[in-house]
Amino acid sequence: MQTEVVLLQRLHLDLLLSQLQAAGYQTVGPVVRDQAIVYDRIQSTADLPMGIGDIQGKGSYRLRSRDDAALFGYVVGPQAWKKYLYPPRQLLMRAEQNSRGLQITAPDQEVPKYAMIGVRGCELKAIQIQDRVFLEGPYSDDFYRERREQIFILAVNCTEPGNTCFCVSMEAGPAAGPGYDLAITEMLETAEPCYLARAGSAKGAELLKHCNPSHAPATLLEKENALWTAAAAQMGRSLNPEQASAALKSGYESTHWKDVGERCLSCSNCTLVCPTCFCSGVQEVTDLAGTSSERWREWDSCFSLNFTLTAGRPIRQSPGARYRQWISHKLAFWQDQFDQSGCVGCGRCITWCPVGIDLTSEIEALNALQTKT
């Protein structure tokens, strides 16, 4: 079935937002905070970062003002949508110990219903990658599932990739793949941007209908196509996933890891910003009286020394071994575990690494070493 493409104006986006809110959704999307684009609650398009873009590079990120009224003219910021589906802190269980003995109960929590506004192709793919981790293994994570089942995704197709992006290599963009409820492309033809919109679900189609939209003119569709083609050609980085995986497997014991280990600070920034990283630890929190206790799950990172604490000592003691684990997991072992890569090419780990370590260059260096020997 050919999806119908319709033309929306900014006022239609506001209409969509208010309809979502009326349907009980918390609308969350990009806002400017502390000189970065982060995701937070939004009420209307007035909350979006109008006329703001960003400049990204190895270890650098800066906002800039654009000379247009784009609402989605930035690339991706330090936060990923995972914070809504897999929160940084999650109560897993409560336990009580009293005269009646031990009782263990699941937390009774209200499940927030999010409408995510402005999900990029790479981010949509990242959500699907985490679905496979939390929902499609031998066990399914109830906390993730309950949130995931309720979300509404409004995707935004990318037309201006950033300097650290390589989603084309990872088949995650620049246009959003299936899995969204609605997808829009921001067209900056005129002073006031307009939007080409496609529904990807019945929910999305229903919402679009209420906007009473007009058909998109063929000329605009051609322009959109040209924008995507241009965007795909403008990727700041590239990576060959098959080659990367092979290089990591054959170079597992390469001297290169020692070299990276001397640069890497083990700060965990890359794992925090990465939209697919899913590792966590648990914390037991007891009340003062000692009669009730809670188990909390918190994001953890394979860069922390105690991550591998086993039988009294950490296994991955050197920073190089920890970096090797991280990059090998992303680009090689993930394939073995989940039949897909663990990287969507969003470039966050490159931008937010304080010392500018770039996984695509590390793969190149590893390859160069291997072809030399």
Partner: protein, 279 residues
């Protein structure tokens, strides 16, 4: 919520010290008495997550017989916060249990074979269920041998049981100690020396190894030298574990998750990783 994620409340039915630092906890489900429910069935080699109120949760192998339907036994060494707290539990008190998790020893492959089980130290606990199960199908197994290495005399686990096996004819038991003391009349040396001393029919042997990683590595090497193929050897691995269901990421071992792909692995699947540092 799924019982794999939320612990059930079980009760300690028996507590016994095995060695100065190691104890066995028998745990039963309170409902088993009242509602004639069965225990969660397990396969030898699998483990449970044991939760002590207010302290935390740790992975512990099941060390009793799979045919024991009234209680599940865990043999635990005191090494840190949670295992110390487990050691304080008394019969009648409660704990939380999730499980069983993980892969099992491939006992079905032992039919018509010589089954050699090698255990080092506390590694005897995770293989005891497979010994019970092998004894239960003894007529189908050509020969059954246990090679056990402990550090010192006082650290020999399940000493009475080992003695009764040694006096029977169903299983050959050989024990060696790292350190000799006057109380010990038996063999001294590393466990690999016991493997070396075995007269193995390489084509018909199935080897199961459990113990410290270095001991498993050397034991596997010795079996390979004796002519076994890596596919005839199984090991049980251990890594930091927070969830046991493949979400926390801590137990990753190269491409594997020890909690769901392991802890029991065929040696060829992990051979190169076992010979690499800081995996």
């Amino acid at each position: 919520m799924s019982p794999a994620l939320l612990p059930e409340v079980w009760r300690i039915s028996d507590f016994r010290w095995e060695t100065p630092q190691t104890f066995s906890l028998s745990c039963e489900k309170p409902e088993v008495q009242t509602r004639v429910q069965t225990l969660n069935p397990f396969r030898p080699g699998q483990f449970n997550m044991l939760y002590v109120f207010g302290v935390g949760e740790v992975p512990i192998s099941i060390s009793g017989s799979p045919e024991n339907t009234s209680a599940q036994i865990h043999t635990i060494r005191k090494v840190g916060a949670v295992t110390n707290a487990l050691a304080e539990l008394k019969p009648g008190q409660s704990l939380g249990i999730r499980g069983p998790f993980g892969s099992a020893w491939p006992l079905h492959k032992a039919k018509g074979k010589d089954l050699v089980i090698v255990a080092g130290g506390l590694g005897l606990a995770p293989v005891r269920p497979v010994i019970y199960a092998a004894l239960a199908m003894r007529s189908e197994i050509r020969s059954l041998t246990l090679l056990y290495g402990a550090r010192q005399h006082a650290e020999i686990l399940y000493a009475d049981e080992l003695l009764s096996w040694q006096t029977g004819a169903e299983i050959a038991v050989h024990i060696t100690l790292d350190q000799a003391t006057q109380s010990w009349q038996g063999r001294v040396g590393v466990v690999t020396s016991l493997i070396q001393a075995q007269d193995l029919d390489a084509d018909r042997t199935l080897a199961l190894i459990c113990g410290p990683e270095i001991m498993m590595r050397y034991s596997a090497h010795t079996f390979l030298e004796k002519g076994l193929k890596p596919e005839q050897i199984y090991v049980s691995l251990e890594r930091n574990m927070q969830c046991a269901v493949g979400f926390c990421g801590h137990c990753q071992y190269g491409p594997h998750f020890i909690c769901k792909d392991g802890p029991v692995f065929r040696y060829d699947k992990v051979q190169s990783l076992l010979n690499t540092r800081e995996v």
